[in-house]
């Protein structure tokens, strides 16, 4: 083989090794070690290995009270099962509401679950005022002692929470929203430690019960 051609093949070989190595690293990184292909899969895997801490959050509940669910200076055993929703949602959030209604019934039957609270947070503050939250809570028979329906106090608080928890809300083109629906397990210190599929609340409860 002539020297120029050999050098050219060597250059091609080195380039190929570099490109394939770089691509493999990039794919490994974006798929969280080849364990997930979607952002939602990876979000759930990531919180298991590196639980993010949600910042202190001011919420307004359906009865108009202002409160902070986590980040209190005195830590306690309390565990929040959190979903994100908007009250006008005809599909996923209604299903989430029904699942939470079932969970609330299950919680009432076992005194070991006293530390577990349900929290539905609306990401649609423009529409979900206290009245809308109250209607949603009433529709699903939410007992305020166990299940709080609330909205972040202020747009910046909502944006911060969405960023920290990895919630993405997009318009569905029909006047509503599409969003990642799931049950988030948040400890009293604000650590988001697990995310469960919205249609598997029993797994979330079993996990929260063990905490």
């Amino acid at each position: 083989m002539p020297r120029v051609a050999r050098a050219s093949w060597m250059g091609t070989g080195i380039s190929l090794v570099a490109i394939i190595g770089f691509a493999a690293a990039a794919i490994w990184s974006i798929t969280f070690g080849l364990r997930g292909l979607t952002t939602e899969d990876i979000r759930r895997l990531r919180v298991q290995s590196e639980p993010p801490v949600l910042g202190s959050l001011q919420l307004t509940s359906s009865n108009g009270a202002s409160f902070r669910p986590w980040g209190a200076p005195q830590g306690s055993r309390r565990v929040w099962l959190v979903t994100f929703m908007y009250t006008r949602c005809p599909t996923l959030c209604t299903a989430l509401g029904i699942e939470f209604e079932r969970l609330q019934r299950a919680l009432g039957q076992d005194p070991r679950d006293d530390h577990v609270r349900l929290l539905s947070i609306s990401f649609d503050p423009a529409h979900d005022d206290t009245g809308a939250l109250q209607a949603y809570a009433a529709e699903h028979h939410a007992d305020p002692a166990r299940w709080i329906v609330a909205v972040p106090s202020g747009a910046s608080a909502l944006a911060k929470l969405e960023r920290e928890a990895g919630i993405v809300v997009i318009k569905d083109g029909l006047g509503g929203y599409a969003h990642n629906a799931a049950i988030h397990v948040v400890l009293d210190d604000g650590r988001l430690v697990r995310i469960f599929a919205f249609d598997n609340p029993q797994a979330a409860l079993t996990w929260a019960r063990a905490l």
């Binding site: 093949w9 250059g11 974006i30 979607t38 952002t39 997009i170 990642n180």
Partner: protein
């Protein structure tokens, strides 16, 4: 793609190539929100526009760096491997989401697709038909498979696009795969027939 594109590109002067690169680049820059607001437009219009901009830039750089590129691109392998891996990467839903939520990832997407376009142009000029067939076939198969997965996935794959947009993107990707494969076949047919006649 292929021989016809190569023949056309030879006729283009550097100035025309610069105009094409500027047009495609400007289109992406100005229409970015519209293009990336829909999954199908993002993948089936923006990606090819960036490849086109890259191919035009490649034409401009050819005169200056042609020898250096050729020395690392025997049979067009480097360019084809780079472009295949780049396109495969940006078809991963998590990567597409990341490109929408992170400016650095967005920049990586633009740069990698423009470089892919430049390298593809160079590769199509030097690659034997068998090598071209392998990579065009691989691209078409990969794109069609991803398109079918997007159409049949029961859940929302990208957080930034709803299931309706996902379905439309899946159909568009299958169409893109078929059109790319057919375009390549038509473009290389004369060269293929010619080589058959010589034999």
């Amino acid at each position: 793609m292929g021989a016809r594109v190569v023949a056309l590109s030879r006729r283009f002067s550097s100035r025309n190539a610069l105009l094409i690169a500027a047009f495609a680049g400007l289109a992406v820059f100005l229409l970015r929100d519209w293009l990336e607001g829909d999954m199908a437009r993002h993948m089936v219009i923006e990606f090819p526009l960036l490849l086109l901009a890259g191919a035009a830039v490649g034409r401009v750089l050819q005169e200056r760096f042609g020898a250096q590129i050729a020395c690392c691109n025997q049979m067009g392998l480097t360019g084809f491997v780079f472009a295949s891996l780049t396109l495969a990467y940006w078809m991963i839903p998590a990567a597409l989401d990341a490109a929408l939520g992170d400016e650095w990832m967005a920049a990586a997407k633009y740069v990698s697709l423009v470089v892919s376009g430049a390298l593809l142009r160079s590769s199509f000029r030097v690659a034997p038909l068998a090598v071209q067939l392998f990579f065009v076939g691989n691209f078409a198969l990969m794109t069609a498979t991803v398109g079918l997965i997007y159409q049949t996935a029961p859940q929302q794959l990208c957080l930034n696009y709803g299931t309706d947009a996902q379905l439309a993107a899946g159909e568009s990707l299958v169409a893109l795969a078929v059109i790319s494969a057919c375009t390549w076949c038509v473009s290389v047919a004369p060269a293929f027939l010619e080589s058959g006649a010589d034999a």
